[in-house]
Amino acid sequence: MNEYRITQESLQAFVAALVADGLTVLAEAADGSGYARLAADDRVAIDPSRAPSRLSMKEHFFPKSEALFEYRREDGGFVLVDRLPEVRPTVILGARPCDAASIGILSKVFNWDYRDEFFNRRVDATIVIGMLCAYRDEHCFCTSVGGAPDSIAGSDLFLVPLNDGALGMRVVSDDGERFVTAYAHLFEWGAPGDPLQVDEALTLPSVRFDAEKVRGWIEGHFDDPYWSAASETCLGCARCAFACPVCHCFDIVDEDRTYGSGERMRNWDACQFGMFTKHASGHNPRAARAQRYRQRISHKFAYYPSRFGEVLCTGCGRCTRGCPVGIDIGAIAVEIGGMAS
């Protein structure tokens, strides 16, 4: 495995070089809000033990709102103008493994049969520099859903902290290899400092539940009273879904920009909203909060895995940390796993 050694100075020079070359560089913002754009002279801080931002990096591949095309009233009819995104080459610096993993999971739904070029173009234009994650709290459970703090899934390059305070950057994909060559002169080749041994220096989050068991229980308990109990305090906002790196439901609406002309927009939507499944006739298959909550959990741990072979959850814990009423998805999976045993 090729590995570079990066000091704070070379990291700073690296970001400056990327920005100078016209690339967009995104990293978790210091204020903890989400992945934000770095300017050439911003101080770059890679801190593997920092708490995850409130919002995931999903927004870069699947924006909260984007135009699908433009419509213009002309000559008594309409003219449509494509708005496939022209994406600037982008580097995501210090992506958490639980964020980087989302790309592969989302690619499944965005590309089965119909290929969503809005998502694909953004993925294709992006180099993901992952980061070994040293943050742990009671809401993390990546190891229960197939991830790990040192997982390279979704990354092109991967940062590991070295004992001397510098960073090691491993090349973990062909795209990463091609990309890094142009900037190799900024780094030392090889890694003089010993990389921290993950199993020694980092405690892995313990595996809290067996995702396969959770799926089995869900498939046989559609009408279980557990769903009402688990969702009793849920207020039905979409903070969990919008913070989630893999929730991908969306709405499509038209919005006029000037009279008669405008854009067809795709906006984030969530199964927790009562309107989500409401038919025009008024019939609503999921009119009750408990039904919507059941859908959220079932889609993540049963339906998506059985359809696409992936749990629709990376164990990042953002939904739980952000939930205004403290609903804990990890604890729910543990409970379901317990009921399955």
């Binding site: 699908l68 095309f69 419509y71 009233r73 008594g76 009819g77 309409f78 449509l80 494509d82 708005r83 496939l84 739904v109 965005f110 089965w112 049969d113 119909y114 290929r115 969503d116 070029e117 809005f118 559609f222 991908h248 439901c249 969306f250 709405d251 499509i252 609406v253 038209d254 006029d256 008669g260 405008g262 067809r264 795709r266 939507d269 199964c271 989500f276 499944t277 409401k278 038919h279 025009a280 006739s281 019939h283 298959p285 999921r286 039904q291 859908q295 079932s298 889609h299 049963a302 339906y303 998506y304 059985s306 359809r307």
Partner: protein, 277 residues
């Protein structure tokens, strides 16, 4: 590299008012090349656009055997259908599709067909009825049982008359009790009761059932009692959809996406799904 969300442009050639609140649009593609390419099967649906208002999901109500016009029938409910009702002949509509699966015409070959529909649920069935009638020699006896709330709510009235007049086609039209009026010489009663009364033979037959959820719920046991097995009962699900492409998540039921794995399901398939529709 195509934009899967971009509709093709169509022109409204004709507007037919089926009932006071239901309307059929007859549409043609603006671009003849697109019209040439466009192929669909009975039971498939499309996303129709009114630009500035949004998209709406309807089945294609016309038969693939009559490709010169695409027809959709709709009731005014929300933002898009309200806008759609304001459109005139010559106005533009967008169409994405066709999407979803379709009625198993191959499996229906050589069998008797029983069509049961309620309200605007006749639209997808109508597509299949014309499809079958245009290929008449392939199928056995055809029975059509159609019901609506009242005489005024019956859609495709002229076609009901046409089917009634055909030999080899048995057409029974019913209205809910209280929905009849003077001179009405059809049946009076809810669809499940009429199906029970007519009692179509289940032998070598396939039943296609479309309509409001409550009608479907009460018709299924009647068909079962008549001897139709679960594989020989076919219905469609009318979930709310946005993308039609298996992405937006709205029509997800269990591990099924109605827009891709449906909208056509056998009763057997339906029974295997969580009751989330």
């Amino acid at each position: 590299m195509t934009n899967i969300y971009r509709p093709e442009l169509m022109v409204i050639r004709e507007i037919i008012d089926e009932t006071p609140d239901t309307r059929t649009l007859r549409l043609q593609f603006r671009d003849p090349e697109v019209a040439e390419r466009f192929r669909f099967q009975s039971g498939q649906f499309a996303e129709y656009s009114v630009f500035g208002e949004g998209e709406c999901t309807f089945c294609i109500a016309s038969s693939p055997t009559r490709p010169e016009m695409i027809e959709c029938s709709f009731k005014r409910f929300g933002r898009v259908t309200t806008a759609m009702r304001r459109l005139n002949v010559g106005d533009t509509i967008g169409l994405r599709g066709p999407y979803g699966n379709y009625f198993p015409l191959e499996r229906m070959k050589g069998r008797d067909l029983v069509f049961i529909a309620g309200g605007i649920g006749l639209a997808p069935v109508r597509c299949l009825i014309w499809n079958a009638l245009d290929l008449r020699e392939r199928f056995g006896a055809i029975t059509i049982i159609y019901g609506a709330r009242s005489v005024d709510d019956l859609v495709y009235r002229r076609e009901l008359d046409e089917w009634s007049a055909m030999s080899g086609v048995r057409t029974i039209v019913t209205v809910d009790p209280g929905g009849e009026r003077e001179g009405w010489n059809g049946e009076v009663g809810f669809v499940p009761a009429i199906v029970e009364k007519i009692a179509p033979a289940a032998d070598n037959a396939i039943a296609v059932v479309c309509g409001p959820p409550v009608m479907i719920r009460y018709t299924m046991p009647v068909l079962t009692a008549l001897g139709f097995d679960d594989e020989s009962i076919i219905t469609t699900l009318e979930n709310r959809m946005k993308c039609g492409l298996g992405k937006c998540g709205r029509c997800n039921i269990g591990d099924v996406y109605v827009c891709k794995d449906g909208p056509v399901f056998s009763y057997q398939q339906l029974k295997a799904l969580p009751e989330d529709y």
